[in-house]
Symmetry: D4
Subunit: 217 residues, 8 copies
């Protein structure tokens, strides 16, 4: 049965190459996708892969690389792209770095220069303030936070460029799997903050790239 049509021409049409969403895909199916995209494009970039999927794909395509932190499974091209512009990817805590790396590496895969600013949450407010100049240099800012999700409001107040807020499922108890952070961000009192799905680093990296491209063209 052949249910999925891969979109090889996507990059030519939209400027964004196909990305594989690995989660939930069966082994055979995943290997097939990686093979076809590798043949067609000379590189593959997949998100939300687990260790088992990484092992399976690497058994067939040895130069596949798996990043245990971001859960990205990729085959790099022979020549890495030149990274242009400037976006910031910021996290409240260290536990948010997994999602932040998904955002950052996605943006880099799409050719965007990324400035990482990690572990600068609001309970130690001087940490983010010491980065104010760096923040203001970014064309777009991806702000990743779990628990009370307060960091995007602070960042939104410090810059004049768009903030893409990413709630994470980091926390416990009444965080309800990221709902608390998501509601915080949707209700932000700061101007310029919009929100993507819980743990959706990929989506934030994509949007930041869209904005960055407008700035550099």
């Amino acid at each position: 049965m052949q249910y999925e049509n891969l979109d090889y021409d996507r990059k030519g049409r939209t400027g964004f190459p196909e990305v594989v969403f690995c989660q939930g895909k069966e082994d055979d199916f995943l290997i097939g996708i990686y093979r076809k995209l590798y043949e067609a494009n000379g590189e593959v970039f997949g998100t939300r892969a687990d260790q088992h999927q990484a092992d399976v794909v690497k058994a067939f395509i040895p130069n596949a690389e798996y990043d245990r932190i971001s859960h990205i499974l990729r085959i790099r091209p022979e020549v890495d792209p030149i990274l242009l512009g400037n976006i910031a990817v910021i996290t409240a805590g260290t536990a948010d770095i997994s999602v932040a790396e998904e955002a950052a590496q996605t943006a880099e895969f799409f050719g965007t220069y990324v400035n990482r600013i990690y572990d600068v949450g609001v309970s130690g407010i001087h940490r983010i303030l010491s980065k104010e100049t760096e923040l203001q240099e970014a064309n777009a800012l991806v702000v990743v936070a779990g628990m009370e999700g307060a960091l995007p409001s602070v960042v939104g107040g410090l810059v004049s460029r768009p903030v893409i807020a990413v709630p994470t499922s980091v926390g416990y108890g009444a965080n309800f799997g990221g709902l608390s952070a998501m509601l915080s961000m949707i209700n932000s009192c700061a101007n310029g903050v919009s929100v993507v799905n819980i743990d959706n680093g990929y989506g934030a990296g994509y949007i930041a790239t869209q904005i960055n491209r407008l700035a550099i063209h």
Copy 2:
């Protein structure tokens, strides 16, 4: 029908005089309570009164005073109490001041000195930071915020004393009547933050007084 027994001796026993929760009380009933407490104590303090209730009580007891911002309806004693210690009552925005005043005036009614620091929300982070010294002088800090409710986490990171967070129903849309702020505060990443009910300024003023008394005794 006589369903409620007033607790005239409460102040002697617990150190906190009876406070009237006006909301939902019928006119006759409310006037009766104010009269009895005034006769017994020489003063009355009531929260969540509306304008109609204020008018009705003032028609019978002319020296009753109504504060339209805090919705407190009180009859002042001949001699105001001396205010001791130091608590801070802080708001994120101007719309939170109604709840903050309920907290502040409650604490003052109980004899606590209150330092008001209003409209210092996280989207203009330098406002709260400029108050850092004042914050650190307080024995307890009541932090009132609606929308994303982020301010208690920032304050919690700046001080070593307890923070009582009061979520407010200020906002619209996905604030769900204060739920978003409440979840933020419950999930605070800062140490030392505990939470009371949405719009419960009275409760926060009470707890801050309890803590302040431990500090000054």
Copy 3:
């Protein structure tokens, strides 16, 4: 009592002049703000004003204008700004136009050219498809929808620029005041979609302006 400090210098610092959030503000307070901002800036722009507030402000400042659809209460400057760039503001139905106009007029107040595309919801899919070229010319797209909130996903699939999705409280029953539309948009399967609060046209117009400015500079 003077609780709020107006930020007259905001435009010089951030490029965005102060906007008044009228909802919930008392009459005296509102008139005061409009007067001070008018003296300082020669224009005022306020959102979420009701008819009563409009009448009160117009009684004091006759050249104030109220738009019953967008609930915007403004005093226009002597010379209207030149509108630059291109954003699209799109609605699913006619009932979403109120929120869309808040977005569109906010963006215009900030100097952005707006292309309005209204009543093109997904149940008559050929309507939005007939606008495909216009959509692709926009630097950013504000997509406003209530009920099932599906339109941003369709638009996101047609363009390569960022989509800011605005859920509205339009609908009844299990729309839960806009929650259904908000969850749809947060879970969008399309790339490039981020979300603001329910009925937050202002926020979307602000972000679209931020993005448009990057494109035209």
Copy 4:
């Protein structure tokens, strides 16, 4: 202990033979049901079986067949039924195919001809539009979608026959196990859309068959 009475005569009475809901049934119990129904009817059709249940039943009844995608465990009759009429089963993505196949194979088990149209979600809207004629030929349309669940609204706008919408638990984060898709579908702005439980492919296949029978009789 014998708690369940099988309904052997169901087909004669209602036109729909008994279907086994395997999920949660203990091994011995399940084997017993399959044996009795096989003896009585010469075929058995069960939904929501897992691999372990499939192995256990096949150990006793070797001609049982398990479909890993739809989780259907069946023993085919000697002669397959003739499939009549025309319903469409449509999915937004490839991850929805599991539920779609439950619907499609259920309808086929009940004698309905099924036209499968898969992976035509709204973020690439031209895919579903290219099938417009096929859609209009169906007597009923089962539309299966997770995440934002927008596809039924688009399909509902393209056809004049009933659409049965099936929300799926596909997605992550704020999809809340399929709640987001379910709310979208319940709030559909298109006419002719009704909804069944999350992941309830069986129920949708049943209803589509009921409608198809009215059309062909």
Copy 5:
């Protein structure tokens, strides 16, 4: 401003004439729609009108008729349509009749014969059982219930034709505006039950007509 394009040709294309959703429409706008549709079609059918809207429209178009129970505001054609086929509209209680009449009159407007069976809820189960023959004669059954929403499951077990379940907001306390009834119906253990939005009588009448037409053609 002219934001809405009326779809005069809708009946020719889909077999269903345009219906006006009155709720939330401003007076001038509503009068305009009724006039244009009346001129074009010789009849108008609108749902969710309130008494004020009825008065306003009747002031301009005296032969408009308002049904206070169903909240339908219509202008009848010179010749009523012949009603064909057979659907049943059933309610659990008398308070559900408002929604049921919206369903029934909608179906009649579309030319469907309707058998009304009201106040036959499950707490007096013999009432619905005494109607078993009538139920089985219907091509489709609209079952309207609030509170625990149990009636569709009982009806679904008595018939072999599709049941469209309509949850209503009837009830109080933990009915959460109809959520309890909606969840009951979505989780129905009976086959053949699908669900529309809370209080959506119109939608159910529409779908029942779609099914009835398949049966009579």
Copy 6:
């Protein structure tokens, strides 16, 4: 550390002997409780035990018996109690029997005669109606149902004695772990229905015993 004080005298004081809630108890702790209660009372009755706990206790106390359906782990007394009065325990489906047996065996442990009536859910309404006489003979009726939880309303309409409704977590999708059934039961339109926690067979058996004792004394 000795944190729990067993209440050996409970039976003498309240008429109800101590029951062990096994879930979540550590092995050593559980064995200790069973031993002490067995020595004191000559019998032990525990609910919500899993297979591992059963194995562990049986290794130390060989005459312990485990019922895999009800998850009750008990040591029977030398002489079984005489069962008095009459309560009915009723289930909608076979999957609800686990909870029903917890209720029934609890009631029997407390000396109550139980009439089991299983698998008589509302989608085959004639099943429960054929038991009408038996239902009316019971002093109290425990009605156990998952999914839409409709059965208690039907039973409540057939009898004049109290109905204790037990929602179960049986179902999937939008049953939300039993919430749908619980809301149905709380909103029952039938008189005489009260509700206990999801899957709380023990509680229902306890209350039915309380009521039954009033009837037989």
Copy 7:
């Protein structure tokens, strides 16, 4: 239109006479019901009537009496019934008395003796403890509480008879219209507690009467 069939014979059949649920009933309809029931039974008992409905009915039937606290609108019989047995109706606060009176007067209407114990909430625990003997004399206990809904658990631990817990919508903020109290009561750690809908005093009075009758017969 005659949609409702009154059940005049209900008392003979079930022992409970018909009760009118006034809320939401139109004036004409309500007057008609009161007249018919009064002619048939010589008395009428209705719940959830508002002041307007009371005025309307009293205009036609002057001996109707309205209790503003319980919202009960009744026409008393010539001879009041003898009250038998003993149930307790208990409230946490004074604001819960409205619901408690609905319960108490309902039980009295059905011939049950009621012992009222009001304003004995858990924050002043000695109040309920001082009534321990009275509590233990009741055959059933209706416990009415809003806010955190803790009182039924305390009462349940003090008595061996069934407790019917009634959550009320009393409170504000995160009480969510009574949800907090309802969840507390459903999760009660005390044995013998079952729950009815939020503010459902009638239902609790009915069940307590059912239990009381078993005790006195």
Copy 8:
């Protein structure tokens, strides 16, 4: 990659040494933190460690000790601190002790004397009342409860010092992972009660220490 900066000087600055939140930390990372903190401070205190993490750390640092009840993994200093002041840590049931011990041991780590009062829930109200004197001697009271979470309201009514309420996830069914207890506590009718996150024993121990220090200084 080095993402986290440990805050060795924290104790000097705030009076509270760094505590490790073990949950979710990878093995290598955790070992590194324990080593560095041990070298710097001569002791380490970590919360929410699982057995695997304990084994891994103990393999490298043999004098690490793991408490299976509180899930605290610590390396004790050579000299234990002197415990000052007096706080009470109280639980409703035995299943709440895990969270209570996290609170108690955290407070002890910070130098606070703790009085443990366990298994005194409201369903056996005399247990907590027998401790009234001890309760009143505490400077702050941590009250830990799951299920209906009623205990803090009772304790709050017995003392004049602050109560920090800790909801736990103990329970099943409609406890929704601790939500029921959390809502109870937030809605407490007692004065002086504030709330921390579900299962957040650490946070409560921290706040109780803050308050205790004010009392003893």
